[in-house]
Structures are given as structure tokens and as C-alpha cells.
Amino acid sequence: MSSSRVFATAKRLLKQLRHDPRTILLLLGVPLLLMVLLRYLFGAQIAEFNNLAPMLIALFPFTIMFIVTSISMLRERMSGTLERLLTSPISKFEILAGYGLGFGILAVIQVALVLLVTFGPLELTTKGNIAMLLLFSLLDALMGTSLGLLLSAFANSEFQAVQFLPAFIFPQMLLSGIFTPRNQMPQALKFLSDLLPLSYAIDGASRTASSTTWNLATSVDLTVVVFAIPLSLALGALTLKRQTK
């Protein structure tokens, strides 16, 4: 693997975004706006906000990175540039790693801004460790990127790719414990929820925000999230076919 080709790909993705300031504004501004909305939605119920905010801090980068990545990769497929790359010396893994790195950098900026605003002006108070919450949010963003790369292979048009949000992300969101605690779900749904990587991401974020003690459950959350990333990247690499019909 050549790291220079990975860096070049990440740089290229970020340059593409730079020519599209409105997308950058939406990417970085929308999560902030939603957090402000959430804060005023709860008004005096500050305990509710403190409980819900860490979960949403973890959810936003996951969702947004999923959409951005799947659309970018789809465009790459449709414009013929992916085919061009596959006839060049760059390897599939270098392409995927470049995507992970490029959008990962974007996710760092996004998560840092959200944390700054929610812990600053919005006065989120948690007992837990902010650094750990930051770590979980970043891993969630990378998980969104890698799942987006994987899923983009199954979309033939932008319409289909956008439909993956309600089809693929919303069910995970409903079952992730944001709306109902996971241990209060009916058995079958709890089982389903246990199979979905987002559940562990949200659990991890909320656990690290609410307590400073590290326990087995936190380690499980972290392990699942960390392994879901290379797993979906590897599956994504399988979908990058050099030869097509």
C-alpha cells in the first residue's frame, strides 16, 4: 500500500468539497442547529437534554458521513472516474482508505464543533469523560463512512442512495436506544437491536457521557464499533469490481 496515494485521494475529496461551500456549510452547520433546537425543545428539563444530547452527538456524524460518502462513491461510479482509477496503479484498498481518511478529517472538524457548542453555550453537563465521547463520536463517523461505502455499491442512482437513509439508517436509529432504552424493548426487537452496530455506538456514547467508570459493557461497545469499521470496509472492497458486465 502506498500512503501517498491514500493521502492524494483524501486531499482530492476535500478539494472537491472546497469547491462546494454550501455543502460544507450544511455539513458543519446542520448538526449545530439541531443541537440548539434540541436544547430549547427541552427548555427547563435540563436532565432530559443531558441524557439525550450525548446520544445525538454520536448519531449526527454517523448519519451525515453515511450520506456524504455513499453519494460521493456513487458519483465516482457513475462518472467513470472509478473505472479510470481501477485501470490505474491505485489499489481498491487505497481508494477506500483515502475515502476513510478524507471524510474522517471532515468528521473530526464536525464533531469538535458540535462538542464545543454543546458543552459551551448550550451548557451540556455530563459526569463522564468528554474525551471518550469525542472518541466514540469519531468512530461513529468512520463507521458511517465505511457503511456508506459498502451500501453505495447497491445503489444505481442518487434516488436509490438517498432512500438508504430511511431504509437503512432510520431502523437502526429507532432500535438504537435513543427513543426507548434498549433493555425495555420487546425480546425480538432487543435481539435485532443487538445485531446492529449503531446500537453499540449510541450505547457507548451515552455510557461514557454518564459515568467515569470504565466497565465491561463500555469495552464491548468500543470493540464492536472498532471492528465494524474494517469489516464494512473489507466488504466494501469486495463490491469494488474491477471487471464489470
Binding site: 502506498s2 501517498s4 496515494r5 493521502f7 492524494a8 485521494t9 486531499k11 482530492r12 478539494k15 472537491q16 469547491h19 462546494d20 462518472s79 467513470g80 472516474t81 473505472e83 479510470r84 482509477l85 481501477l86 485501470t87 490505474s88 496503479p89 491505485i90 474491477r242 471487471q243 464489470t244 458486465k245
Partner: protein
């Protein structure tokens, strides 16, 4: 002359239809080879086979001693698809610079290819704001970056004004003189005249492979247009 490309009994099926049907072809180096045929005759599919992105049913394609699509060939075989494969949301230079890093080439190469395709004046323009012809030239410039020994160009002159077409064809011959082999598809017959060799494709089969002069002589025509017609009629009556 060295054999650059050797295709042996190639079959390609796309959605049930046999697009390339028992195609055998040998191409010698340092020439400009025109690949001609009506749309749907299999030109683009054949070109995709050469760069290893087309799934084939059977047969072999050997390029400079290696199977088509081999890793070692990715610097040696340049490919320009019919619709320009460029990043529309990057400038001309940014597009070129990305592929420059992928091929690990020096920066000086950027200036060279930009001038070759006459895009120096549009360097900082976004590819989305380029005209169709400019986009096609950017796509060609990317393929030229690693100085490939075999260039596969799918209709590179579509939408270009006669002056630019003239310039590009002169450049193709210059490349051939420098040791590059070019396979250029076209459906414009006046371009056939500019090729060293012609390969005529019809229904996934080679109908003719020789020089323009031989084609004219064998059909007793004084121009290629009528030569094609005569040949097509002859082939039709043979079947």
C-alpha cells in the same frame, strides 16, 4: 515489428447478447490503428477488454506479453472512455494533479500534458464549466500523464472543431513515432484516412484489417467512404 496486442478467440456476452464473437486480432506496435464500425458493433466493448475492465466469456488478450488488465500494465496502457471520466467539481489542474500523484510523476509533467491538449488557458477552470471538447481533452490529458506505450482512445475527437482534430491527429502520429501504439475508435470516415492501419468491426467480428491503401485497392474505390460501402455489401452477400 513487435506484436503489442494479441487477441485470441475472444467472446464477450453482455446481457445475453454476444457482443464480441470469436474475435482474433494481432496488432503491431508504433502505429495508429483506427477501430471503425457502426455503433453497436462492439468497439467500446473491445476497448474495455483491452484495459481489463470488461468481463469476458472466453478467449485471451495479451498486451506486451501480459494478460490485459495485469497490474504491470496499468502504467503502460492508457485508456480514455467515450464520456470524459473527470471530476467535474475539480479544476483542470486539480484533476491532473490527483492522477499525477497516483502515477507518482513529477510536477513538470502537468505543464507538458496541459500544453499538449491545449488546455493551458483553462487550467484554473472547474471541469464542470468546460465545453464538451475541453472535457474530452482533459480526459485525454489524464491518460497521457504516465506516457503509456499503448493508448486506447474511444472516440477522442467527438465534438472537436476541425482545427483541434487536425492537431490531435498530428499529435497521435507524433506519439506513434515516439514508440507508442494507439488504438483510436471513430465512426467518422474521414478520420480513417489518417490511420496507419484500419480494423473494421461488424457484429462483434473483424471484417477487415489492413492499411487504408489496401482497403481502397481491394475494393477498387478511390475513397474510403465508397470502399467501406463496397466491403459492407460484399460481406453481406457472403453470409
Amino acid at each position: 515489428m513487435e506484436t503489442v496486442l494479441d487477441i485470441d478467440r475472444l467472446y464477450v456476452r453482455r446481457s445475453g447478447n454476444l457482443v464480441l464473437n470469436n474475435l482474433t486480432l494481432e496488432i503491431h506496435g508504433e502505429r495508429v490503428i483506427g477501430l471503425l464500425g457502426a455503433s453497436g458493433s462492439g468497439k467500446s466493448t473491445l476497448m474495455r477488454c483491452l484495459v481489463g475492465v470488461q468481463r469476458i466469456e472466453s478467449g485471451t488478450i495479451t498486451i506486451m506479453g501480459l494478460p490485459a488488465g495485469a497490474k504491470e500494465l496499468r502504467r503502460k496502457v492508457g485508456y480514455v472512455s467515450q464520456s470524459p471520466a473527470v471530476y467535474l467539481d475539480l479544476t483542470v489542474m486539480e484533476n491532473l494533479d490527483y492522477f499525477r500523484s497516483i502515477f507518482s510523476l513529477p510536477y513538470s509533467r502537468l505543464r507538458e500534458v496541459v500544453e499538449t491538449v491545449s488546455l493551458a488557458g483553462a487550467q484554473k477552470q472547474l471541469a464542470s464549466s468546460l465545453s464538451g471538447g475541453q472535457r474530452a481533452r482533459l480526459s485525454l490529458a489524464i491518460a497521457l500523464l504516465p506516457s503509456p506505450s499503448l493508448l486506447v482512445l474511444d472516440e477522442p475527437t467527438v465534438g472537436l472543431d476541425p482545427l483541434l482534430r487536425e492537431e490531435l491527429w498530428n499529435y497521435f502520429h507524433e506519439l506513434a513515432n515516439q514508440g507508442c501504439t494507439l488504438i483510436v475508435s471513430s465512426h467518422v470516415m474521414d478520420e480513417a484516412e489518417r490511420c496507419d492501419d484500419l480494423v473494421l468491426l461488424r457484429d462483434g467480428k473483424i471484417m477487415f484489417h489492413s492499411t487504408p491503401a489496401t482497403l481502397k485497392a481491394s475494393t477498387e474505390s478511390d475513397n474510403l467512404d465508397s470502399a467501406f460501402l463496397a466491403l459492407a455489401k460484399r460481406v453481406k452477400s457472403e453470409f
